[in-house]
Point group: C2
Chain length 142, copies 2
């Protein structure tokens, strides 16, 4: 069971790269090279993040992408939702058998509780937090 797929993973890294150069336009190419993310794949992810208003872009020479939203307001939960769909434990459990038979709906409660826990844990992890963690780690190292 893989919690983060490649696109979410890459998106997090790309956002960290953009957040580190806040206010500047950074090209997809440079992000791809520096972070070893497949170029065209990354392009798609960046487009998707523009649509979700996380970043902005500028076309042409010296163009690129720039972070728009405050890094502290971008959570991993949000990125998972964008690239992997809303966190849900099991589509079917809610419908057919379980909710048809009222007794079995008890499973639903158990499972939605966990859903909440998972979501709130990922909610706490924002791009801003990850950035500060990175900085802290770098301080210690030097």
């Amino acid at each position: 069971m893989k919690v983060l797929t490649k696109n979410t993973d890459y998106a997090i890294r790309a956002l960290l790269a953009l957040a580190a150069k806040k206010g500047c336009y950074v090209s997809a190419k440079s992000i791809a090279t520096e972070h070893d993310i497949p170029y065209q794949f990354l392009r798609g992810l960046l487009q998707e993040m523009i649509r979700h208003d996380l970043i902005v872009s500028k076309e042409g020479v010296q163009g690129g992408f720039m972070i728009k939203k405050d890094p502290d307001t971008i959570s991993v939960t949000q990125l998972i939702e964008i690239f992997q769909g809303k966190v849900q434990v099991s589509e079917c459990m809610f419908r057919k058998q379980i909710c048809a038979n009222r007794a079995r709906c008890v499973l639903r409660h158990e499972i939605m509780r966990i859903e909440q826990v998972v979501q709130s844990e990922f909610e706490k992890v924002t791009i801003g937090k990850l950035m500060r963690d990175l900085e802290a780690a770098n301080q210690v190292k030097s």
Copy 2:
């Protein structure tokens, strides 16, 4: 993002069915019909659970499957591991970029912490617990 796939979902339900008739052999066919699980699909899941020592089987007429392990010791975490592989946040994050660059390993910690939370939450949900929840719900209803 789907946390439980059909096989885990079906396996949980099948185990609940077997746990409710502890000590008896229950045929795959009856479980499939009563719980609306595709028969051949269920057969595969049951075989897998035998391999993992959760249940036993008896061949021939009046044969079927019987729960072997104490329901309280069968957790959803265990079933996820069997049918969806061990819970891991992101394979690649640990390897390539992140761990190549030591600084970025900070992400790994954040992410492994969540992995632990997710796992321990699902650990708490055992077949035994779900059974008791079901019984309790049935009591209230009648």
